[in-house]
């Protein structure tokens, strides 16, 4: 009994803590989106609810709760009701394999700061689970029984097949250099080594572009395309179900930022800083703080890009995906493996 408790209790505490952090992060990313977009357009942004509008996410959440949940008569009900969950749940499940910091040692026992420690296929798991989110979009758009929603769903489907290839191939070089699919191993490989966005710049650029398409953010938010197809896949959704799509999108943004930080920006590493020197507790806490700060920077970047660029045209997106990113990722793979095999680059174990 005690042995089970020793495993379950820390895991439960970590799950609750990480979910709380992530959901708060999602809420405040929406606020940041509104604030930053307002500033970029010389406006003030929400500032009525709480100081500087800081309680705005709470008000938004309450509004979502009290809104009527409408199901259109022509919708295919079971799938229609399930689709938002299919978007939201994988978006939250991905956080189980993301390491948030080194580890905290309490009473001689070390607790790594992630829910599934020792997961040595973390990257594969994360990629496969996070691309499940597109099923929510496809099914939601299809089951709405609305032609604009179906257009959104179709766009989502074709977008995802043109981008997954480039994204996956661009990550392969990172995996080859660090010799592991484990996210913590990849972070460890960047300790005392230039972060991978310097050494794998081409791969980084390809992945960055692809991740914008994967998270359905501008300039690749074709499934939504509010100026062309009303609201795309979530046209018919309202109330809490719309909120689920919304939260899923922002949670995916956080996952994407976390992935970028872990793979290319050294995770919780800082140059010339060793977290072990800060003591058993503070080392872990500080490393997690650094990690979240880096994630916040990328979230800002996502928002910044969204309020700068117009949407790409559909054929342009296909063109970029298949004829630019995919060959670039292949070339990058060839270059990096050549450098590693014949010139001895890479991370020495």
């Amino acid at each position: 009994m005690n042995a089970w408790l020793a495993i379950l209790l820390p895991a439960a505490v970590k799950i609750v803590a990480i979910l709380a952090i992530v959901l708060t992060g999602v809420a405040y990313t929406t606020l940041a989106e509104r604030k930053v977009s307002a500033w970029m357009q010389d406006r003030k942004g929400p500032n009525r609810v709480g100081p500087f509008g800081l309680l705005q996410p709470v008000a938004d959440g309450m509004k979502f709760f009290f809104k009527e949940d409408i199901t259109p008569r022509q919708a295919y009900r079971p799938v229609y009701l399930l689709a938002p969950l299919i978007t939201l749940v994988p978006a939250l499940v991905t956080f189980s394999v993301i390491p948030f910091g080194t580890s905290i040692t309490v009473a001689g026992k070390s607790y790594p700061l992630w829910i599934a420690p020792g997961m040595d296929l973390g990257l594969l798991f994360l990629l496969s689970i996070s691309s499940l989110a597109i099923y929510g979009i496809i099914l939601g758009g299809w089951s709405s029984g609305n032609k604009y929603s179906v257009f959104g769903a179709l766009r989502g489907a074709s977008q995802v097949i043109s981008y997954e290839l480039g994204a996956g191939l661009s990550l392969l070089t990172v995996v080859i250099w660090s010799g592991s699919f484990g996210l913590a191993d990849i972070v460890a490989a960047q300790k005392g080594h230039p972060w991978f966005f310097l050494t794998h710049f081409l791969g980084f650029v390809v992945f960055l572009v692809a991740i914008f398409a994967e998270t359905n953010r501008l300039p690749f938010d074709l499934p939504e395309g509010e100026s062309e197809i009303v609201g795309g896949y979530h046209t018919e959704y309202s109330g809490l179900r719309f909120a689920m799509f919304f939260m899923g999108e922002y949670a995916n943004m956080i996952t994407a930022s976390a992935l970028l930080v872990l793979l290319f920006f050294g995770g919780w590493n800082l140059p010339f800083v060793d977290w072990a020197k800060f003591g058993p507790v503070w080392g872990g806490v500080l490393s997690a703080a650094v990690f979240f700060t880096k994630i916040a920077c990328f979230l800002f970047f996502f928002i910044w890009v969204r309020w700068t660029l117009p949407r790409f045209r559909y054929d342009q997106l296909m063109d970029i995906g298949w004829k630019r990113l995919f060959p670039l990722a292949l070339a990058n793979l060839l270059l990096m493996t050549t450098l590693m095999v014949f010139f001895g680059f890479g991370v020495k174990k």
Binding site: A38, W39, M40, Q41, D42, R43, K44, W304, T308, L309
Partner: protein
């Protein structure tokens, strides 16, 4: 007509130079805190132009009586038929006065024809625009209400024309 597309270098065709330029522009707008265009409405208001057409009101003459002589020109010209007048007789020099004068603000389209057509400048489109209500029946303004609104100070000083006495 055939447009000549500009020749782009391969670097320009990657979209990157344009994207970077755009990012710089949007970023430079973030810290311009004293140049925000937001007007925090209930506390701050726009100055209205002098000819602003808000809710129609009835004006009072210097003798303290309403200027309206119940000629019903406004009632006839009103496109949505929002004005309704019941005329009555009076001992004053103008001989006629409106016993009832209602404007249905649910119908009014703020066209200003009533003001234009009035021979005695009795009806006027004032600078009032916060007219929403939860009850439609309350949107039918009676004579007393219209006169009270006409006596209110305008938002802008000096907007209202000096009232002229009704000449017999």
């Amino acid at each position: 007509m055939r447009l000549q597309r500009p020749k782009l270098t391969w670097w320009e065709r990657t979209y990157f130079p344009a994207i970077l330029q755009g990012l710089v522009i949007t970023f430079r707008h973030i810290p311009r805190f004293n140049k925000r265009v937001t007007l925090e409405y209930p506390e701050v208001r726009w100055g209205l132009p002098r000819k602003y057409r808000g809710a129609p009101v009835l004006l009072t003459g210097l003798d303290g009586q309403e200027k309206c002589t119940s000629c019903k020109l406004c009632q006839f010209i009103c496109p949505p038929k929002a004005i309704n007048i019941v005329a009555g007789e009076t001992d004053l020099a103008k001989e006629k006065f409106p016993r009832e004068f209602t404007v249905d603000m649910g119908l009014c389209i703020f066209c200003g024809y009533c003001q234009e057509v009035c021979p005695v400048e009795a009806i006027w489109l004032k600078d009032e625009y916060e007219l929403a209500d939860y009850d439609r029946t309350r949107l039918i303004y009676t004579k007393e209400e219209l006169l009270a609104r006409g006596r209110k100070q305008p938002y802008l000083p000096g907007k209202e024309k000096p009232l002229e006495e009704v000449k017999p």
